[in-house]
Point group: D2
Chain length 340, copies 4
């Protein structure tokens, strides 16, 4: 960490800052330039509150060198984290395909889709029981009944289940869920994160719409600091000025997070674009970029849902895509020399 001082800092205040830093076992290297003096801090600066320093009268700027996350940091945990879920594992060279409907709607819908996606190569079943909706007038999910149906579909297919929890009080209902998802809008719901750190199911944290990599990793850190080291990161598109797509999928997240952290990285190309015809391109690109898995919405027929019309081809489209994804994953592994 570096502290850039204002010119001519009050000597008494500077002295007390230095004493305080020393009391935290931080070593100080001072560089005096013509116009600026800079204190270089050496030691465990992750315990220093950067905003507190920045608020001091004698300080012009503070810049962090060391990352503020530890448990999630590859520097301290060089080996990839691999997470076992049911008969499958996330990370470690696997391509995990989590597929299923956006919302759980009925037993028939869910079991049909679950069987279909399993046959296509999916290794986990996704499905929303509690749905965060920006309008209070929109369908909020089946809730507890949705979780019961997921449990049933899991029994039928053997697929482990991932589903979103919106509030800490829902934890007892998630007994039969294998991976608990934290939604983008809850990425900085710190109470929820802490509660999830105190139980032992794997937690998949979606990136907030405008959250930086560092903030995202700090949310993982919340879970991990409470004891649960099984954290998965899921990129689902960020908010930018572009309005043609709902969000902008940031595939740079894959190599960046792999460099900064040892946690598995999943890509959700469905939420990112908000347009079905853009999903295949994004999913294939994610595999080439080195993702550990994909979270894909398999639409049960929206026509049917609305108007009882003819069955759509959506599951066929997924089937075709899944085969391509698995083939590409195999090819990439060869290309990268079996490294991954």
């Amino acid at each position: 960490m570096f502290i850039v001082l204002k010119s001519n800092p009050d000597p008494a205040r500077l002295a007390s800052l230095k004493d305080w830093l020393a009391s935290k076992d931080i070593e100080i290297h001072t560089s005096e330039g013509a116009t600026t003096t800079v204190l270089g801090l050496v030691g465990d600066t992750s315990i220093i509150d950067i905003d507190l320093i920045a608020a001091l009268d004698i300080v012009e700027d503070v810049k962090r060198i060391q990352e503020p996350f530890k448990n999630a940091n590859r520097k301290f945990h060089p080996d990839d984290t691999v997470i076992k879920v049911g008969n499958t594992q996330i990370g470690g060279g696997n391509l995990t395909i989590m597929a299923g409907p956006c919302s759980v709607e009925s037993e028939e819908q869910l079991v049909t889709i679950a069987k279909a996606v399993k046959a296509s190569g999916a290794t986990m079943l996704r499905g929303g029981a509690f749905k965060p909706r920006s309008s209070p007038y929109a369908f909020q999910g089946l809730g507890e009944e949705g979780l019961r149906l997921l449990s049933l579909a899991k029994k039928e297919t053997g697929l482990p289940v991932v589903s979103e929890m919106m509030e800490a009080s829902q934890l007892p209902l998630f007994d039969d869920v294998d991976v608990i998802q934290v939604g983008a809008r809850n990425m900085q719901n710190f109470n929820l994160l802490s509660v999830l750190g105190n139980q032992d199911k794997p937690v998949m944290i979606k990136r907030g719409l405008s959250s930086t990599y560092e903030e995202w990793l700090m949310s993982a850190e919340y879970v991990m600091a409470s004891g649960n080291k099984q954290v998965i990161l899921c990129e689902r598109g960020i908010r930018t000025f572009e309005t043609y797509t709902r969000n902008t999928l940031d595939l740079g997240a894959v190599p960046v997070l792999k460099k900064l952290s040892h946690l598995p990285v999943i890509i959700d190309p469905s939420h990112a674009s908000g347009k079905w015809d853009l999903v295949p391109s994004g999913a294939l690109a994610a595999v080439a970029a080195g993702t550990d898995g994909l979270l894909i919405e398999v639409h049960n027929d929206p026509e049917k849902a609305l108007c009882d019309g003819p069955q759509s081809l959506k599951m066929d489209t997924f089937d075709e895509l899944a085969h391509k994804l698995l083939a590409l994953h195999g090819f990439m592994q060869e290309l990268e020399g079996g490294k991954k």
Copy 2:
């Protein structure tokens, strides 16, 4: 709402869509162009799920005309909402100054600041008991003890209190708090919003870091749809590409929200910039823009907190600013012909 159809839509699917819309009492006006056909929907389209329509195979695009919020909509509630809090009121031409420390730290700190800001003209006391922090290693607030101290400072000064609630389960602790704040990171914590809609204290909703005006008003709608009409909106800076300031204060929020909604609008210039020397300019501009109030952090001496140094002038700075703000507010009222 307009539905732009793909060219040559499947007639059976189009028919079932039209039937479904008719079943919702929506009238359909069809415009057929050379390359596109568009359905204009007339009726209460706020009940239509726009994402569901957009997912249909025959649909190219959907555009909303009518705002999806009702309770918060000025069109249906032309008069300004005025909220009574203790002896003061928010809205209705008043300039509410909410001032106090970022975090409640001790009785002495809080009472000292509370007395000072009251003397300077503040009409409400702000102070954080539960603090959302992006790092699990940073100070998380005094919690319940912080609320006890706020209650005490309220008794000493008579100032009504605003403080942030982070989770629905904390509600019983907020008995003596006058306005419950929903933080920017919780703006779309829909469970929290619903719970706050089912109690009767006023709720101040901070805008999410990258939330649109519409999403923000929809969060107000969550509270209002549950029964509680006393909602205050607080702009605190949005996330942009600019890194010199922590966030970018969007003062355009004032006229826009006043136009779209009847709810009071408060500006928080402290969080927006993250730099103390930029607060006065932002606060004065907010008053000229027509804000109903300001939320200002009055630092107790950060030097002291850290290093036991000499007392800072921060309360003096606030005092000078508060006088200017009140004078400017008076001037603006004259200028606008007493309209406001």
Copy 3:
């Protein structure tokens, strides 16, 4: 195009608006709702100035349905544009690899790199002679001398050359350049675009840092409307809130532009991240996403440039990457059933 009227519009003004639209051969479909009246315009609305309509007193909002671009629009030109450059072609299932140094520095540097990238599989040579630099104190490129060296390297290797033009007056100097690049900062330099539309070399337009797909396509339209149909689009990262990478590479641009337009799309993963170790992941992902080519900076040894140190491995790294990219491209073509 839809015009949403304010409630109770002045009848005389509405009538004159309708007359004006009729005079432009626009047919009007009126939908009257309980709270809003909407005019649906049918005809060639690309000639209507949307801002002009929006400024009318009686108008609340205007929404465009039809895209404002024509020459660049796939709807009117269903076949992919394929651009012949020297012995190679851009588009049409090819993977064009444009490689070379950021700036041309010397004959030795350029020729060494040109030979190396050709051997690795590059089909075009890139190199900056005129360099847009945000600081007036930074190196601005060799200018005319740089173009002379590019011409020389082209003669030595047979690789066609792409280089950036910063101002219309430089055109005569670009005689021996095969593709003229318009930089991101000049994407809306409309004078430059018009001049390039009046000559016949292919033009590669980089996306502006915060330009939407539509604005980008409108810049292509500027060139095409002046007569030159040989336009290439190059995504190079957009500006977002994320600061870890210099920009955020938007690979969604590939499927979106392929859908909206028939022009070839190139990805520049080097500028996007600003970090060398993120380039391979981005380049591979771009190929899987379906890009027509890549623009990659091959660093001549920065160590050497600065300090005359030992030769770097940068060209080796490129060589390894180029082989992977070509292999992946071949695999993707098989996977997509030779469609592309």
Copy 4:
């Protein structure tokens, strides 16, 4: 400037980097921590190319402390720049109101508006002769004829004129223009900036849609480094995720630029919102924030332009606003103790 080294840097490369820095008269302070070594550079680091350093194999990160701009930097030029234009001056406590039509359309239109805005209190006339339009099919301005009409209106009213130049080659036509405007889309057209630095008319640089304060000041630096010190900065709204307004007006630019630089700052509330009813709030807020002036579009009747309808009240609206702005400016000067 700080250079954060990768762990275990190659000693030969580190030595050559240090030698190179020493050759530039940069002093190096080394801080060695447990996991990182950092070089603190002291001296004139504005000549160091930060991207070049960042590209070195042994370097993990580079952070700048010193601002890269000098001529525009308040640290080196503590006094406010005041620019004399005709009988008025920009800066120095004045409130400059630049008003006029977006585009010059006819002699009658321009002279009518010019007389009206002068009567209302405007001190400069604005008007576009060359119009940058995102569509090649939209009206591009009257060009040279527009400049002739501006000259005529200037003669009639005595108001100095500000107008936008889009290309260096247009300079000879701007003989009778008093302040040359560089548009947002040309903010980083470095050739144009250099040419404007080599002539002696004041230059007003609009902020690019997604340009940081630093990039903006570096564009001012381009003009100033070439010799012309008369630069004015104009904020006109930045691009964010919000779509309700065309852009987001960043009034924080006023105090930030006043702190970092000595140049006058103008606010353009018209382009920012793109909605006429939001202009007054933005303009008043800008005055309270401490702006040196405003650039306001006074619409000649858009109804008339289009449909020959009844004359709009737009000039009346401006008249009312201008009086408020001037009254508020007077009040603010008293409030700030005549300081400004």
